[in-house]
């Protein structure tokens, strides 16, 4: 008779099976996550470049150079503006739409499906399309804005150094908001109805119900989603790579693209590794908070 202990861990046979099941994951993890991460840290301490035969340890020199480099400051600032702006917009807008979708009405499934379209379109295709849409003279964006009299002269979304980052952020927002909507919607749907019933019977108005029931109930889901989206947005690459390549100048350069260019166009892999490590350091705070939340939810 086999041990039928459900989730129990009685018996080393079950423990051994559990570990065996995890072996493929461990292999992938070690080869593609653990080893590369350690290698990157090691590389960041060298001046490794595949086009030069000699590599030596220069220790923290890469980081000293990074910290004093004005381009790096600009790129970091861009990335912070990008991350903050996109995430806030996605969550405010996403929450509103999720609230709307949380009601029972005919055709809800259709709306839910159509809303996911931006997530399905490959980033490179979206970037090309947005490039066309942002054309100052022939693009529909400017045409639309002129028609409703918001602007009267053509706006150069992708050539104006002050606007280009915003234009890219809009595209990322477009791509990212479906995930936020669906995640928050899933969280809203998990809230038990009787909580609302009781509040309604007690005479609570809709704003009281929102603040005292909806928001607290959705908090765990929202925090996990917020941290995850923040990290993903910070690491974003494809949008700027295809849309502007970081230009004009460095006005829309994000740190992931900067690292990519340093590594695969300038072939300064040691320096690029240092950029990667600094990205990771910046992310430590949200990552730590995220993992703490996860740990709390597991136990």
């Amino acid at each position: 008779m086999r041990e039928t202990s459900g989730r129990g861990g009685l018996g080393s046979r079950r423990t051994w099976l559990a570990i065996k099941l995890l072996i493929p994951l461990f292999i992938c993890y070690a080869a593609v996550v653990a080893y590369p991460s350690l290698k990157v840290i090691q590389m960041s301490l060298t001046d490794y470049s595949p086009i030069y035969p000699k590599t030596s340890y220069i220790w923290l020199e890469n980081f000293q150079r990074l910290v004093s480099e004005t381009i790096f400051h600009k790129v970091m600032l861009n990335t912070f503006i990008w991350t903050g702006g996109v995430v806030i917009a996605e969550f405010v807008f996403g929450f509103a739409v999720a609230l709307l979708l949380n009601q029972q009405f005919k055709g809800r499934g259709v709306y839910r499906t159509l809303i996911l379209i931006p997530w399905v379109v490959p980033p490179i295709c979206a970037a090309l399309t947005f490039n066309l849409m942002y054309d100052p003279f022939y693009g529909p964006v400017n045409w639309f804005l002129r028609t409703i009299h918001v602007i009267d002269k053509p706006v150069a979304w992708l050539s104006d150094t002050h606007l280009v980052l915003f234009a890219c952020m809009l595209m990322r927002f477009w791509r990212g908001v479906p995930f936020v909507i669906i995640t928050l919607l899933a969280g809203l749907q998990a809230i038990p109805h009787n909580l609302y019933e009781v509040a309604r019977i007690d005479g609570a108005s809709w704003d009281k119900r929102l603040f005292y029931i909806t928001l607290p109930q959705i908090r765990p889901v929202a925090i996990v989603a917020l941290l995850l989206v923040t990290i993903w947005t910070f690491n974003a690459f494809a949008e700027v790579f295809v849309l502007t390549e970081g230009g004009p100048g460095y006005s829309s350069m994000l740190i992931s693209l900067y690292g990519f260019k340093t590594a695969f166009i300038f072939y300064k892999l040691g320096y690029a590794a240092a950029i990667g490590v600094s990205m990771f350091l910046v992310l430590l705070v949200p990552v730590y908070l995220y993992l703490k939340q996860i740990r709390k939810q597991i136990s």
Partner: protein, 285 residues
């Protein structure tokens, strides 16, 4: 007998509903418009591409752009490359994620929470940090220009989210189901296959779609790793055209539409499972 206030309430509720429909329709129109623009652009001649006023549907549509994509680019070969890569990524991701999630969900062993946290932490790593050492590693073994390197990498990129989602879904299903099977003499793996998996179809579907999208759309790693043209994936090939001095927009739009279609098909086929799969899974933790 309807009182006046109750009539007011019903009117208010109807008004809310109408406003909801209007608001959601506006949202959907905004979100879908770039895709619609892409679709329209793929049928436009160059003259209409840059015409005023901008029209979604061209007055003089043409299939030339699609002709150029099929006959003058390496689209077909790249399609097969991408298909191989995505297909194998989905297969490996689903298998490994299912086994891992089963282990993490149904077995209590020392270090279980730690493994969960490590799986989740893997998602945080910036793309750059992943690909630079991968590139160096594969370069040393002269394996850079290989689709297998890409497949294994993509599998590992999608594994954390997939494992997490499946584990959450497994957690929400009572273990009594498998226990019943095991009482009848089934092994754990047998119970997994016969009892748990059919119940988890929505989550498997959601996980497959996620892995597919990761593999089908990914650009950074493929671009860095693949150097010979016959190994290019669709995304890489398109990115080279996009970097041209004077890009041929009609062709780029047609190419884009063609890249998007498989994702859309896969998505439409599985869409009813996605929200259910997500709901029971990663969200509730």
């Amino acid at each position: 007998m309807l009182s006046f206030t109750r009539l007011g309430q019903r009117l208010r509720r109807k008004l809310c509903l109408v406003l909801t429909y209007i608001a959601l329709t506006i949202v959907v129109v905004l979100l879908a418009s770039p895709f619609v623009w892409m679709l329209g652009g793929s049928f436009k001649k160059l003259t209409e591409m840059f015409a005023l006023p901008p029209r979604i549907i061209p007055l003089d549509p043409t299939m030339d752009n699609y002709g150029i994509v099929f006959y003058e680019t390496a689209f077909v070969r790249c399609f097969f490359n991408s298909f191989q890569v995505a297909g194998l990524t989905v297969l490996f991701s689903v298998i490994i994620a299912t086994l891992s999630a089963y282990s993490l969900s149904r077995f209590r062993f020392k270090g279980n929470p730690e493994v969960c946290v490590a799986v989740v932490a893997a998602q945080m790593i910036p793309g750059i940090v992943r690909i630079i050492p991968l590139f160096v590693m594969l370069h040393r073994f002269h394996l850079t220009d290989s689709l297998w390197g890409v497949i294994v990498s993509y599998t590992t990129f999608s594994l954390p989210f997939c494992t997490w989602m499946l584990k959450g879904y497994f957690d929400s299903i009572p273990p009594e189901l498998e226990q019943a099977a095991m009482v009848d003499g089934c092994t754990e793996l047998g119970a997994l296959r016969r009892v748990l998996l059919p119940v988890c179809a929505p989550a498997i579907a959601a996980v497959s779609l996620f892995a597919f999208i990761v593999a089908w759309n990914e650009l950074m790693l493929a671009r860095a790793l693949l150097s010979s043209e016959e190994k290019y994936t669709l995304a890489v090939h398109l990115s080279h055209f996009a970097a041209d001095e004077a890009p041929y927009w009609g062709m780029l739009m047609a190419f884009s539409v063609l890249i998007t279609i498989p994702s859309l098909v896969f998505f439409a086929y599985l869409q009813k499972y996605i929200v259910t799969g997500l709901t029971g899974g990663a969200i509730k933790g």
